[in-house]
Each structure stands twice: as structure tokens, then as C-alpha cells.
């Protein structure tokens, strides 16, 4: 985690602009591209399975897609292709990022706040655009003046706090897990006795299983469900409520 090499890239060097806000963390960008490459490979494999007439791989891919369709349909009340693909993309990307620590020499891109904030902002922008599309621009603005007009600044702060809370939750959990794993590795490292005991007794497996696999999948699920719920609330109209009740 702590490296003496400086990976920061300054795109504005030519114009002599040296603002830390504009620096790009090269290491995290590289890791993100590795994760995207792994995603691409899995998607190509899934495509290969789907091109066959039958087989267990085809069934597994269909089940996963059906799971996203069911989740979005149950929450929103009717099937919408855009929302379903949005939810699936967010879940798969976060899950791949969190699980990428299982590969040697790869660190999770989600241990950097920039990545999680970017995902949070994408989700926020998608939700607000859909709310404007459903309610109209003035209907969307009038939501900020509920319950009474004095609440306007508080409503705006509340919206910003939503983005901060979902991004910082993902960041804090993944970074905390990665830090604990690092400290554990440095504690057992250096002695062949400790390392072999930890490996054969299964302690390594427990640490990786809890802090990387379980925590990573759970945080991806929590992020997805929260985005979906905020989306449901934002695009809800009066007749939409009745539809979701009928399905239950």
C-alpha cells in the first residue's frame, strides 16, 4: 500500500498549472483498466456460452441476467430496460473492483476515493435525469420546496449528503478491509513458520473470504439496492404506487 514511487500524472504540465486537484493517480487508472480487461474477458466467455443451444454455462448466464431483471422489476414495479442495465452495470463493476484484490499485485480501484465518488456521481446524475424526465423540469424543482419553502437549502444539502454517504460507505469499508489485510500480512510476513501455519490452518482463507469476498459482494449489493431505491422514489408517480402494490 505504501510505495515511495510517485504515480501522479499531470496533464496540465505544459501550461505550468500545478494544482493537486488536477493530478491523475496513474496506479489506480492502470488497475481500473486491468479490472475492465477482466470484465471484457468474462463477457466474451458469457457471449460464447449464449451462442450455444444448451449447456450449463448458458443456464448460469441466463440466471444472472434474470436476477437483475427480477430485482429491478420488483422494485420499480414494471420492467424498464434502461434501469435494469444500469443496475446490472453498477453491481458488476463494483463487484469486479472489490474482488480484484484476489489477483496478486492488483489493488482494488475502490480503495481510492476518486473511484467511489465517480460511481456515486454517475448514479446521482442518472437518478436526477430520470426524475426530470418523469416529473418535468418545474415539477422536479418544486420537490425541493416541500414540506415548506424554508427547507430548500436543507433539501439541497440532503441530496449532496446522499452522494457523499453512498460513496464514502463503499470507500470506508473496502479501504478498511484492505488496511486490515495489509496489517495482517505484515504481521505474519518474514517468518516461514507463521506463514505456513497461517496458510495450512486456513486463517489466510478466512481473512480473504470475509474481508474481500463477503464484504466486497455485500457492499456492491448495498450500493446497488440503495441506488435502485433512490431511483424508485425519484421516479415514483401516484399511479406508479398502485402498480407496485399489485405485484406484491
Amino acid at each position: 500500500m505504501e510505495s515511495s514511487i510517485n504515480y501522479d500524472i499531470n496533464l496540465f504540465k505544459y501550461w505550468n498549472i500545478d494544482n493537486p486537484f488536477l493530478l491523475i493517480n496513474g496506479e489506480i487508472v492502470l488497475m481500473t483498466w486491468i479490472v475492465l480487461g477482466i470484465m471484457l474477458v468474462t463477457l466474451l466467455i458469457a457471449r460464447h456460452f449464449l451462442s450455444k443451444r444448451k449447456g450449463i454455462g448458458r443456464y448460469a448466464v441466463m440466471q444472472i441476467v434474470k436476477m437483475f431483471m427480477d430485482t429491478s422489476t420488483q422494485s420499480i414495479g414494471r420492467f424498464n430496460f434502461n434501469h435494469c442495465t444500469f443496475i446490472g452495470t453498477i453491481f458488476l463493476y463494483i463487484a469486479y473492483c472489490n474482488l480484484s484484490a484476489l489477483i496478486p499485485y492488483v489493488i482494488e480501484p475502490t480503495t481510492n476515493l476518486n473511484t467511489t465518488l465517480a460511481i456515486g456521481l454517475i448514479s446521482f446524475a442518472y437518478i436526477q435525469l430520470n426524475a426530470i424526465k418523469v416529473h418535468g423540469f418545474f415539477g422536479y424543482l418544486s420537490d425541493f420546496f416541500k414540506p415548506f419553502f424554508l427547507m430548500l437549502p436543507l433539501n439541497i444539502i440532503g441530496e449532496v449528503a446522499t452522494v457523499a454517504s453512498i460513496s464514502f460507505r463503499l470507500f470506508g469499508n473496502i479501504f478498511g478491509g484492505a488496511t486490515i489485510n495489509d496489517i495482517y500480512m505484515s504481521a505474519i510476513g518474514g517468518s516461514w513458520l507463521y506463514e505456513s501455519v497461517a496458510m495450512f490452518a486456513g486463517i489466510n482463507l478466512i481473512m480473504a473470504g470475509f474481508f474481500t469476498i463477503f464484504e466486497g459482494m455485500l457492499q456492491a449489493l448495498v450500493f446497488t439496492i440503495l441506488s435502485l431505491t433512490y431511483l424508485t422514489i425519484a421516479i415514483q408517480t401516484d399511479d406508479g404506487q398502485e402498480q407496485s402494490e399489485c405485484l406484491s
Partner: protein, 318 residues
Amino acid sequence: MFELTAFIHTFAIIAPVGLTALGSSYGGGIASKSALLSIDQQPKAKDFIVRTLLIGLALIETSTIIGLLVTFYIMKQTSSIQNIYQAIATLGASLAIALPGMVVAYSSARALRQTTPAIARQPFFARKIINLMILTQSLIQTPVIFGFILSMIILGNVHLVTTSGQAFGFLASGLCLGIGVMGPTYGLGTFAGSVCQSVGKARHAYSKLLTFSLVGGAVIETPNIFALVVSVLIAHLSKTPATGLLASVVFISAGLCTGLGTIGAGVTSGMIAAKTANKIADDIEQYGAYSRMCMLAQGLVDTNALYTLIVSLVILSK
């Protein structure tokens, strides 16, 4: 290092992880007990109840993990602490995460505690109840995120501290957020438990209760935002060196004013919303009347917290 400095700094190291672990272990205990009782009541819903318990316990543990993170950060800064003022400022950063983390862990356990009996009552509706629980728990956990951001702000500015005014300013900033979010978070815990229980009673009220939990939760959380505004303002004012005893008195009193003022407003606002959620489950037809009445009452209660915010801002503007 001078002995008192070492004492304060050690306390700052242990407080985040110790207090958050206290809250989350106590909360996890009561939630697990409730889950066991629910399995006893409805053994066929065992799978859903165990899954809910696992998700809920992992969410409760969020505050402990973030507390541990802040503990590591403070431990790393041990060598750079030069005088007692920097130690006091670090204590502010540690209290900003420790006190909210403790109350948040306990309050989100109260939501989980009512969710498992609700699933035992309505096993076929379990997935939506789990969604509602994740939503309410994440509403409760917002103060931990606020505390984490404030701790990072304070820890990033500790090296600027040279006078007592700055040191007590950062301490007041941490205390303001730490004490200020306790009441609203406790109220949110009451409200979230009541919402999950109501869905167990009347599942047709789910979509109404989902909207109501977001709106009601936002109104209960308003005092949290007051506390955050005052504490960030105090932390910003403390960056510039202030001389004299008066500066520290001003910062401490402004922080405590908002911090203590939000406790009553948060707790009672949560109680009002909790009762309203129960009533909505009893009679869904009257949703509009109940929610409007609840909004009015909560708005009136929150006004009291608004007065303390105004007084704090007036004190700080001098």
C-alpha cells in the same frame, strides 16, 4: 513527549475503535437474540432470517471498521505530535468518529431487531423487508460518514495547530458533531425499528412506508446537518491562529450549544415519526392526513434545534 500529551494522545488512539466496538457488539447481541426468537416463532423462514441477520450485522460493523481506520490514521501521526495543543486537536478528530459510531451501531441494531420478527410474520415478503432494512440502516449510518469526513479534515490540519485557541477549536468541532448527532440518530433508530415492524404487520403499506421512511428520515436528520454545519465552520475558523483564552471559550460554547440543542429535537422527532408509521400500518387510507400531521409536528420540533443553530452562528460571527 510530555506525559500529559502522551496520555491525551493515547486516549485519542483508543477512543474510536473502543467506543464503536462497544456499540456494535451490544447492538449485534440484541439483534442476534431477536433473530433466534424469530426462528423459534417461524422455523420455516430460517434461511431468510439468517440471511437478514448476516447482512444487518455486516452493516452494523461498518462503524467499527471506519473507527478502526481512524485509529490507524491517528496511530500513524504519533511521531509528528509536537505539543499538547496538537494532541488536544487530535482528540477532537477521534471524538468526531467515536461518539457517532457508538450510537449509530446501537441504533442500526434496533432496526435489525424489529426486522427479523417482521420476516417471521411475512416470510413471502422477505425480500422487500430486507430492502427496507438496508435503506433505513443506511439512513442511520449517515452520521458515521459525516464524522469520518470531519476527522479527515481535522487530522489534515493538525500540523497547523500552535495555540490553545486552535486546539480547543478543533476539540469543540469534534464534540459538536459527536454530541449533536446522538439524539437524531437515536430517534432514527426508534423510527427505523417502528417502520420495519409496521411492514411486518401490514405488507400492503410497503410502498407508502418506503416513501414515508425517506421523507420522515430526512426531517429527523435535519438536526444532524445543523451539527455538521456548525462543526465544519468551527474547524474552518480554527485553521487561522487565534490568540487568547476567549477564542477557545467561544468555540467550545458554540459547539456545545448546537450539540446539546439537537438531542431533544432528534429524539422526540423520531418518536413522532415512529408512532405515525404504526398508525399508517393500521389504516392505510388515512396516509395523507397522518403524514401531513407528522410533518407539521416534526417541523415544529425541529424549529427548536434551529434556534440553537442561529445562536451558535451569532456567537461564531463575533
